[in-house]
């Protein structure tokens, strides 16, 4: 079965794709920290903050349709959180944008702020994972001091999540092929629990076989890897441009809403 991978554009080639994963990761974390720390009345200047990740996405030739689709997929939780704001904070605030000015509640302002920050930070994350192979990202995290055991776990998770999804999809297909009618809530629940149990047992089997395959190749609880990372002039240029961009926003982009 084929899956829509979130990193399916990470295998393209572009100047952004060729940047060191560590550099991209560090710049993204710093940039996101600045975005998150903006005050609630910074809705409009968040659009200036969106230019950075937007530029990375465009130069990495990542389709914007894909980007917005991913944002929508993960948005329900944030939407619930954001849309609850107008209900608990009804303090009136005056909003002005150029010659226009009007009054809304602080709850609505907070709601817009959460959604805008969510969109910008999601663009950052998608820009990172769509221009960096997951393996390079893991290697970069390892080089940045994240314990090897944790990056190895993430590597195994990335490797086997698709295998487990495949198994689950095959089971669902097999169940659909044999049940044309709704069997009632209790029976459906019983079937679902049996399927989850079966998936769990199969996962244990898989884990045992992986363990055999690892030990068969001399694994002795210590992860070793071939490092292929190097930082070049393009990485330093990216760091300098990112620093100028973030500092310029911090110094000159002041909230225009009051």
């Amino acid at each position: 079965m084929h899956h829509a991978h979130i990193d399916k554009f990470a295998y393209q080639d572009s100047p952004v794709h060729r940047l060191d994963a560590r550099v991209k990761f560090i710049v993204m974390v710093i940039f996101m920290a600045f975005v998150i720390s903006l005050p609630p009345n910074s809705v409009v200047i968040l659009s200036l903050y969106a230019i950075g990740p937007f530029a990375v996405l465009v130069s990495g030739r990542i389709p914007l349709r894909f980007v917005f689709k991913q944002i929508i997929i993960v948005s329900p939780f944030i939407l619930v959180l954001a849309l609850s704001c107008p209900f608990y904070d009804r303090t009136p605030v005056s909003v002005s944008f150029g010659p226009l000015s009007w009054q809304i509640t602080a709850g609505w302002l907070r709601c817009c702020n959460i959604l805008a920050k969510f969109t910008v930070t999601m663009m950052c994350i998608i820009a990172l994972v769509s221009t960096t192979r997951f393996t390079n990202l893991l290697e970069g995290l390892g080089k940045l001091g994240i314990p090897k055991i944790l990056t190895a776990q993430l590597g195994l998770l990335y490797r086997y999540i698709f295998v487990v999804i495949d198994k689950a999809q095959h089971m669902l297909l097999s169940r659909r092929a044999r049940s044309s009618n709704y069997l009632g809530f209790r029976n459906e629940l019983k079937t679902a629990s049996a399927m989850i149990g079966s998936l769990f047992i199969r996962s244990i089997d898989t884990a045992e076989n992986i363990s055999i395959a690892m030990q068969g190749r001399g694994f002795n609880q210590k992860w070793r890897s071939l490092s292929q990372m190097h930082t070049g002039w393009a990485d330093y240029l990216f760091i300098v441009l990112s620093a100028i961009y973030i500092l310029a926003l911090e110094l000159f982009a002041k909230p225009v809403l009051t």
Partner: protein
């Protein structure tokens, strides 16, 4: 000179007491291409695991003259490359390249040597151009070839393969056959694909119900219809009498 594998009266039972292997004795010489044939649940895979020291039964197994036991596990796994049945289990690293490099890295070889071995193994199975791909981007045949490359990069003297042709179309099956037939190592394949076994083997061992039932030249064993059908197998096309 020692044999590649020597098994003396080896028995193994699962935790619930079910006998998986009963008094198996077997000698495999260096460079031999051997098939373990038998129906599903005969004990072929368990025997392969026993050779690499993954299951512990009674009796003795020697790999290149070294007894398989806990003390010698490290040495044994340097001598014998064990490829499990499902390539999804064999390929556990995020990319094919890293997977093939995993074994040589654990042998603590120099990085240049690891890179050279990885490239050579991937070229042998025709997957060098896909080295940076994650395993879930490969076809079933490519995954199987990559699983074999993970063993080749360790350069073991003996290779065991469990059902290497399961779920493969004829083209992929023939490719795997071509790859492993050309390898200089001792190769032991557990399979119930009789046509593959007939094409590959120089020596055949029939196992059923945990026991060695017959052993000898492939034609002698596999051409005997009565023997094959009584053990849930079939005579391969190669040995069928023309109608």
């Amino acid at each position: 000179m020692t044999s590649a594998i020597e098994i003396k009266d080896y028995s193994y039972a699962y935790a619930d007491g079910t006998a998986a292997l009963k008094d198996i004795s077997l000698i495999i010489e260096h460079g031999q291409k051997v098939v373990l044939i038998g129906p599903n649940g005969a004990g072929k895979s368990t025997l392969l695991l026993a050779m690499a020291g993954f299951v512990k039964g009674t009796g003795k197994i020697f790999v290149d003259g070294i007894e398989v036991n806990k003390k010698n596990n490290k040495k044994i796994r340097g001598l014998i490359g064990c490829c499990v049945e499902n390539p999804e289990d064999q390929l556990f690293m995020p990319t094919i390249y890293e997977d093939v490099a995993f074994g040589p890295l654990n042998l603590r070889l120099e990085k240049d040597e690891v890179k050279a071995r990885t490239r050579q193994a991937l070229e042998t199975v025709g997957l060098w151009s896909l080295a940076d791909k994650p395993p879930h981007h490969l076809s079933a045949g490519q995954k199987r070839a990559a699983a074999i490359a993970t063993i080749l990069s360790m350069k073991p003297g003996i290779i065991t393969l469990d059902e290497p042709t399961s779920s493969l179309d004829p083209t992929c099956r023939n490719k795997i056959l071509r790859i492993i037939r050309e390898l200089p190592q001792t190769i032991i394949v557990a399979t119930c694909d009789m046509n593959f076994a007939a094409e590959f083997a120089e020596h055949a061992v029939l196992i059923d119900n945990g026991q060695k039932t017959a052993e000898g030249e492939p034609q002698k064993i596999m051409a005997e219809e009565q023997l094959m059908t009584s053990h849930g197998l079939e005579v391969p096309w190669k040995y069928r009498k023309s109608i």
